[in-house]
């Protein structure tokens, strides 16, 4: 009952916060509890009977976490997970408080947490995860982390805390090295893609450093084919077809990561067929190949967040489709996007967002035809949607996270809680 007073205070703060701002203030109770009982967060996270699972990496962690949770629940496990990407300690503590009894315990078998690499490395020393799954190391958020080695170092700090299994992407050289260094302390499971899948992805996988060799099928979970939203994965030598929440190799890789991690968590109880069916039932991911019906016309949303997802998502965009491309203030300096080859877009009808001119500059140097540059995103969206429907392809809006939020708000679409950092 050590934490009972803190939890009572947290609950009353939550009630007060809701009275002041219905539905809001969700991080406040966590902030208060973390202050009066700083050990609570780690205590609660380490107390799940089935253990704690941490998913981290530069990109794909959000999708991987969702897939993993679906797979575990389909196996009858009761799972606690972070509801949004409220990675920060306060958000996490608040979410725990929602379910905790007075002793601080939560009546769930397993906790699965998606952790931002920066925040994860900060709270990792207090945690004892049974399984740590790492998706990749990409040149992501340069202004924050400066270089891939720094990201790899943070992921290593998280992986070091694993007591059972570390699950890594075999195609990512940083992660393979990191796992090998832990070899004698924990088990490790790998996932990856075949040479054929790699050869067919026009710009590679986007890892900061790619492994020299592909993973043999017998050694882990392997993506063996990707065709639109259908992927084939080999698990323990058996092929499974799986429905992806969006097109592209990176979603198939997320599914492979989720399957490998589910296997690490469930052990003997793991049933690949059950897991694949559960992952296939996940609704399309927000803003990444999501098709939205606006006033009777279908529009595809494509999110670009870092050079890797930028390249991979652009490679799946239909060249014939009319396109609106917007980059907002979330991209502090778009320089690091320049290695992305945007020429496959062919043309962009409207370039918009607060970084419109910088984006137009890059497109111009890739010989992409630009219809017009419209700094005002709301006007750009209205004009784009008012244009006659295309004879081929679907109107496509490509945006950064900030422009996505603004677009959704402008169109009155439900608030997106899925945006990653």
């Amino acid at each position: 009952m050590r934490y009972a007073p803190a939890i009572l205070v947290g609950r009353s703060v939550r009630t007060l916060a809701r009275l002041r701002k219905p539905g809001g203030g969700s991080a406040v109770p966590g902030l208060v509890v973390n202050r009066i009982a700083p050990g609570y967060l780690a205590h609660a996270l380490n107390s799940f009977a089935g253990g704690l699972v941490i998913v981290s990496g530069s990109s794909g962690k959000s999708t991987t976490t969702k897939m993993l949770v679906a797979a575990l629940r389909a196996h009858g496990r009761s799972v606690f997970t972070n509801p949004s990407t409220a990675n920060i300690s306060q958000g996490l503590t608040s979410a725990l408080l929602e379910e905790a009894d007075l002793s601080g315990r939560i009546a769930r078998d397993i906790a699965v947490l998606e952790m931002d690499e920066g925040h994860g490395a900060l709270i990792a020393p207090q945690l004892s995860p049974r399984v740590v799954a790492l998706t990749n190391v990409m040149v992501d958020q340069i202004d924050r982390f400066h270089d891939p080695e720094m990201v790899a170092g943070m992921l290593a700090r998280i992986a070091h805390r694993a007591t059972g299994t570390v699950v890594v992407n075999a195609d990512d050289a940083h992660l393979v090295e990191l796992a090998e260094a832990l070899h004698d302390r924990v088990q490790f499971l790998r996932f990856g893609v075949t040479t054929e899948v790699l050869d067919r992805s026009r710009h590679g996988l986007g890892h900061a450093r790619q492994s020299e060799e592909r993973l043999p099928a017998a050694d882990g979970v392997l993506v063996t084919a990707v065709d639109g939203r259908l992927a084939t994965l080999s698990v323990d030598g058996f092929e499974h077809t799986i429905n992806l929440p969006a097109r592209g190799v990176h979603y198939a890789t997320d599914a492979a990561a989720a399957l490998a991690t589910a296997k690490a968590v469930l052990g003997e109880a793991f049933d690949a067929g059950v897991a694949c069916a559960a992952i296939g039932a996940i609704p399309p991911v927000f803003g990444r190949g999501e098709v939205v019906s606006i006033d009777g016309q279908n529009v595809e949303f494509v999110l670009v967040q870092n050079p890797a997802s930028f390249q991979l998502n652009i490679d799946t965009v239909d060249t014939d489709a009319p396109k609106l491309f917007a980059i907002g203030s979330d991209v502090r300096d778009p320089s690091y996007f320049w290695p992305v080859d945007t020429s496959a877009l062919g043309s962009v009808d409207i370039v918009s967002g607060s970084k419109a001119a910088e984006l137009a500059l890059q497109l111009a140097y890739d010989d992409v035809r630009i219809g017009r540059v419209e700094d005002d995103l709301a006007r750009a969206i209205d004009d784009f949607l008012a244009a006659p429907p295309p004879s081929r392809g679907m109107k496509t809006i490509i945006f950064s996270a900030d422009s996505m939020r603004r677009t959704r708000a402008h169109l009155g679409l439900t608030a997106d809680t899925e945006v990653v950092s």
């Binding site: 040149v139 340069i142 202004d143 400066h146 270089d147 891939p148 080695e149 300096d333 778009p334 320089s335 690091y336 996007f337 320049w338 290695p339 607060s354 419109a356 001119a357 910088e358 137009a360 500059l361 890059q362 111009a364 140097y365 010989d367 540059v373």
Partner: protein, 245 residues
């Protein structure tokens, strides 16, 4: 007779963290827009270096790759020196500049020897710099860009690229940015600085074309692209409270 341009870009697999290696594409694209033929040759191995490149671009990378990049540069040291002497434009950004300098002093007192192609050396700084930068350059006019570097640069006082109007540049209270020796330009302005500063790009192109006995005139597409550059610059300058171009 069509002018044929070869731009060598050194170790883009190691030195392109901020998109600096893409300056090679910017030169090639503008050369093509100006009626020339142009290719970009990535140099990952000493043998990849074309015999008589018309321009050389060296980008910025992470410290983990410093030694590997330096070893490659050392293997083509003579060729680089010959090119510099002949007036071939060499653009070196961030760690690219540091590797062309006398050397890099690390926090742990170790030193990565540079090529000594330009004056100065990289030294420890109190904090990492990651912000916009504006430089007044006597040769290229006003340069607008972004800097992201952990070290300062000293010893370039005799021939800097320009004076810092906003940002840090070489640091250590020098109020200066970069280093220029003939057509060798070293700078902390990362990313596609030649796209955002077309006056500098066209200066380099003019000197490349002249060496080949031809005249350079910016093509129509370049003029179009430069309108985007002007808007991008205007947005940054306004945000920084600097006077418009």
């Amino acid at each position: 007779m069509t002018v044929s341009i070869t731009v060598a870009v050194i170790a883009p697999s190691l030195l392109n963290t901020n998109g600096d290696a893409e300056n090679a594409q910017v030169l090639a694209r503008r050369a093509r827009w100006g009626g020339a033929e142009a290719v970009v040759v990535p140099v990952e191995h000493p043998d990849d270096l074309p015999p008589d490149p018309d321009a050389i671009v060296i980008g910025s990378g992470s410290d983990a790759d410093l030694e590997a990049a330096r070893d490659l540069l050392l293997a083509i040291h003579d060729e680089l020196r010959v090119a510099a002497t002949r007036g071939v434009p060499i653009l070196a950004v961030g760690t690219g500049l540091e590797l062309l300098s006398w050397g890099i002093e690390h926090d742990d007192n170790t030193v990565t020897e540079g090529l000594g192609l330009v004056a100065g050396r990289a030294v420890a700084n109190t904090a990492r710099v990651s912000d916009d930068i504006v430089v007044a350059s006597p040769r290229f006019g006003r340069l607008v860009g972004f800097e992201n570097h952990a070290r300062a640069y000293v010893g370039a006082e005799g021939s800097p690229l320009g004076r810092v109007a906003y940002g840090v540049g070489n640091g250590r209270d020098s109020s200066q940015e970069g280093v220029v020796m003939g057509e060798v330009i070293g700078t902390h302005l990362h990313g596609p600085l030649l796209a955002k500063n077309p006056a500098m790009a066209d200066h380099l192109l003019a000197s490349m074309f002249t060496r080949l006995g031809a005249g350079y005139v910016a093509g129509e597409r370049a003029v179009e692209a430069d309108k985007h550059a002007a808007r991008a610059r205007a947005a940054i300058l306004e945000r920084l409270g600097q006077t418009a171009d």
